[in-house]
Amino acid sequence: MREMSRRNMLKFAAVAGMAGTAAACSGVGGGSGGGGGGGTDAGGSATLRYAWWGNNVRQENYTNALNAFMEDHPEITIETEFAEYTAFQERMTTQMAARNVPDLFWVPSAQVMTYYANGLFHDLDGVGTLDLSDYSDADIDGLRLDGVHNTMALGIFVPVVRYNATMAEEDGVTLPEGEDWSWDGFTEFAIDYAANNPNGRWAVNYGPDHDLTLEAWLRQRGEQLWTEDGQIGFTADGIASWLDFWENLRLAGAAPSLSEQDGVGADWSLIGERVLSYFGNSNHIIDDAQFFPEATFLLRNMPVAADATAGHPYLYTPRLAIYGDIDEANLEAAGTLLNYSANNSDMLRITGLTMGAPVNPRVAEEVTEFASPDEQQMLDAVSHDRALERNPRYEAPAGSSTWRTILTRVSEQVALEQSTTVDAATAMIAELQAAIERAA
């Protein structure tokens, strides 16, 4: 593609001429700072492009944090590239095709291996400005892809059950504890709560499409999402049992219908006041709790089945990478910024902990000084799972980047009673398998 557009350069020169004219007469004159690629000059200064996603709150916090970084490092200029999650991925895809990728960028979870397979990540061994002295070998091993250390973690998420303690108190209930905190125990509690609470509340959102909790379910069964060699790590039985778990709750009235919660991905602002608990990521409490400031939210780690496979807990790490084809002159500066992002509590003081608990043990200790109560909940939930024995976890292979969309679709089919859970699970595996084979 690049070749093709080069060949057309001559023809296009005419267009470029027009570009100048048009810009001049319409008064746009390239009126924008930057114009793309990072650059360096003799003075050792560097311009870096930093891309991330989120909502406007996160946009503002990270912009402030990056500005603070620039004040400390006047030789480094950061050009920010922000968009919401879906738009971020659209833009990244386009930029990758043109090999015009930001120098540092967040990596969407389903695309880790796709990006990796296409050389988008720079090897971090030998980036002198990146300080790894606080980390244990296990921490770094957890980040390696195919044995290469080429991304850093923005933080750690674990799957949790978040519940509204204010509601529980009003309704005079307590969630099952200890050995009763199992999937069956939860189901029993949930059905009972929904049937008997005086306010007509549901016990939980209908959430079969949530990736982190599904992964917890599978790992307790001795399955996993993906295998080390880039294949599907779960069986149709595994998915079907997961869908059955949710159908059971929905049919018993413990969870809302798709209609009542506005789709499989429940709208929190819509159902937050009507559900006691919610299956989600540990970090979501930070944004979601603010929606209902008068209520107190608490986190529970995943229920554990009596026969759960040893080593089932896991940590999910959203990743931050340096672009593989970064101008090598900018690499040291990029390392400095990466260091600031991963190993510095000053940054987290500004951004908050929406991207999870720090991996760096020293930083994880430091942030407890300023963590809000909700953030402290999150930190505790992560520490709990982090202290447990954990089997390795592998990222989604190339070709599987649509797996969450497929999961959503089969969840809809089941919830709308268009398909049995077993048929839906089988169809999901077949579709994914075909996509992975095509990408191979």
């Binding site: 057309n8 027009m18 990758m96 798709l258 959503t408 679709r409 089919q413």
Partner: protein, 303 residues
């Protein structure tokens, strides 16, 4: 000179017009070569390749096209799109033409009505539409609240695969203001003298409508028909915004272009996406050519 008849003079006039025409079309020609043609031809080539956006395209012949036959989601997107086109275009144009005719003749509050009908089109396919549509068609939205008054308990129209596409048809019809403005512009262009002389001849209003308004408006009706049809085939943003890009529930709003987008931008299968795009192009092309052939029988041009 303009009415020259001898062959050589006629030829020179043609040449002169030909040169002038190319001068007039220069910006468009430059844009065609520099901006449109290269990407178009690139996408044509990519349709015959396996191209994951990141690595080099690999030529695979007709494999992408063969894949479509067995691709259930492809057929689902064809069904969704055809249904949408066949239902929403006639409805939207009917509303647009009817209201343009009503508003064309002077009446009190004309400006207000025209603006009011146009307002929904101004909103375009802004992200706010997703919120609006949920407020209207969601579980406890306006429609269900109205139904509850007559004792019918409804569930979300957006989350029901039987009705989700219907809400997008309503969204399209709701924005009938755009073709209405084009109709209004067309009505304005009909020379008033024609009506005056018709009145002098004692033609009834109905007669004037049948023999002046309709024939002279046919180029614009034709234009709106073609463009709204092409637009409906390419409908994307509405479904993208309302379903959050999934085409759900259960692919019931999986528009063809949404499927192209999912393949190209989410599944990184730009080769297949390009093949899908060219199938659509050929289909719309054949259909438009058919419209043009038929137009000889009903479209009247002033020239």
């Amino acid at each position: 000179m303009a009415t020259a008849t001898t062959p050589s003079r006629r030829k020179s006039r043609l040449n002169r017009q030909g040169r002038a025409a190319h001068v007039f079309m220069l910006p468009w020609l430059v844009g065609l070569v520099g901006i449109t043609a290269v990407p178009t031809l690139a996408s044509l080539y990519l349709a015959f390749t396996d191209y994951n956006v990141l690595s080099t395209p690999e030529f695979i012949g007709l494999a992408n096209f063969e894949r479509m036959f067995a691709d259930e989601r492809f057929w689902q997107s064809v069904r969704v799109t055809l249904t949408y086109v066949l239902v929403s275009v006639p409805l939207q144009l009917a509303f647009a033409l009817l209201l343009a005719l009503i508003l064309d003749r002077g009446m009190r509050g004309l400006t207000f009505y025209r603006s009011a009908f146009y307002l929904p089109s101004l909103l375009g396919s802004s992200v706010a539409v997703a919120v609006l549509w949920r407020e209207l068609f969601g579980h406890s939205g306006l429609v269900n609240s109205a139904l509850a008054l007559v004792g019918i308990e409804g569930s979300s129209w957006l989350q029901n695969p039987q009705t989700a596409l219907g809400t997008l048809v309503v969204l399209n019809v709701w924005t009938f203001g755009s073709p209405m403005v084009i109709f209004l512009a067309g009505l304005r262009q009909i020379p008033e003298e024609l009506y005056e002389s018709a009145r002098v001849d004692g033609a009834s209003v109905l007669r004037q409508f049948g023999s002046i308004t309709v024939p002279l408006l046919t180029p614009i009706i034709f234009f709106n028909l073609i463009l709204q049809t092409i637009g409906a085939f390419q409908a994307f943003t509405q479904a993208h915004v309302v379903s959050g890009g999934s085409g759900g529930p259960v692919d019931s709003t999986l528009f063809y272009t949404l499927y192209i987008y999912q393949q190209g931008f989410t599944a990184f299968d730009m080769g297949y996406a390009s093949a899908l795009a060219w199938v659509l192009l050929v289909f719309i092309g054949v259909m438009t050519a058919g419209h043009f052939l038929l137009s000889k029988y009903w479209v009247f041009y002033g020239d």
